[in-house]
Symmetry: C2
Subunit: 255 residues, 2 copies
């Protein structure tokens, strides 16, 4: 039985709690939060504490808090030499106070308030200062997921930027698609099968090979037509920018 304490109860913290509750191999001793929280029914026996001094003795302390308070909260922990990890993709491990043994437990996924994630398919990126602690984190992660990777802080920083491109920026492209359709009174639903297929395609075909479209074909007639069809200056500019990048990338490879 692995005894853990969760510090912070936002999106990640609450989904982690729900996932751990389903396992008999993990015991969540306490949940710490700065402001009042209500735990789900299945967690009614778990004490919520609002004072770091009230923290119990656990195997792993998991900080799921904003990046900018990881340092402060870890520094204020009323003990030393225990295993303390954060769950952030953007923060390095050494943001955590040195007074405890440090690690990272980063589930690589986008979490929504109202959607229960399937942790089995979520990659968990682990980092620890020493091999014994890494094994402890691995034991905990393997309860949730089948995909566990050793990722150091500099690799995790790269993953986090990459995630912004494929998640945040992609979602913004979806938003543009929706705007364009709504301008012509067409339901955005019409694009959903294409969006889904675009995401699924790269599970079997690398993006480089999956690339299609007027930019890849260097079809100047269609590109011109598209630029004329776009009404907003910002859409035109983004269309031209990405088209040029695709053209450069694929022409370069043809030389």
């Amino acid at each position: 039985m692995i005894k853990i304490i969760l510090l912070g109860y936002g999106n990640v913290g609450s989904h982690l709690l729900n996932a751990f509750l389903k396992s008999d191999s993990v015991q969540v001793l306490q949940v710490y939060n700065r402001s009042a929280v209500e735990l789900p029914r299945a967690a009614q026996n778990i004490p919520v504490i609002y004072n770091l001094e009230a923290l119990d003795d656990a195997d792993i302390y998991i900080l799921s808090v904003s990046d900018d308070v990881i340092g402060e909260i870890s520094e204020n922990l009323p003990f030393t030499n225990r295993l303390v990890v954060h769950t952030s993709g953007a923060a390095a491990m050494d943001v955590l106070s040195k007074k405890n043994r440090r690690g990272v437990f980063y589930p690589l996924q986008t979490f929504s308030k109202n959607k229960t994630p399937d942790f089995k398919t979520i990659p968990i990126c682990l980092e620890a200062e020493n091999p014994e602690d890494y094994k402890r984190l691995e034991a905990l992660a393997s309860i949730l997921s089948k995909q566990i990777s050793a990722i150091d802080s500099s690799q995790r920083a790269k993953i986090h930027v990459a995630a912004v491109f494929v998640n945040n920026f992609t979602n913004y492209l979806y938003q543009i698609g929706q705007n364009l359709l709504e301008e012509s009174n067409i339901s955005f639903d019409l694009l959903l099968p294409l969006i889904r297929e675009t995401a699924e395609k790269i599970e079997t075909l690398p993006p480089e090979q999956a690339q299609t479209g007027p930019a890849k074909r260097n079809d100047r007639g269609t590109i011109e037509k598209h630029l004329n069809a776009l009404q907003r200056e910002s859409d035109k500019k983004l269309y031209a920018t990405i088209t040029e990048l695709i053209q450069k990338h694929h022409n370069k490879n043809e030389l």
Copy 2:
């Protein structure tokens, strides 16, 4: 029984043929192509012709050819006043020669050579010059798909630009994600669950509400860190451009 003839046997033409072969309500009389093609085993009884003069009498002629030859081929058809449609998202209906009754049969999806698409979930966008022909196209489309929409040429032009954003451009963002991970010797597979979730999320949440990340939060510390982590100038520029667009969009809505 609807009698059709396919003209052109590229990606769209071949997938259409395979889909029609599965139905008892459609008979594919001939396949026309300019260069030699080999039909699948199930289509061995269908004659392939290489001369427009050899075309039979059909209810609907479907041109799945490059946009730039739609006009020419339709003009060279050796008959008049029959129903002739193209399958292009980018071309207007009036690109087709006036000598026949014109229409469009546009399946809104990205097709890959080696992956059989599930037409049931593919929206088919229809246009015709008169209501009777529209009904004919609708009867044909309903054999393949549950999602049929009446879309005129100006709407289809918008859809086609939108498809470039959510398909071609999104795929390019995936490509950047892959490059970034490979720079740090991390497998691109790690991002696949995030990519899939990003695409699925907007089936229940509009992109506007699904937007997350440092740009949306206006988290300048993380944005700065990301820009420093990016090595290629083109990635930096694109990161800055889309970040600014997201910031503008979401700040505007807060005012």
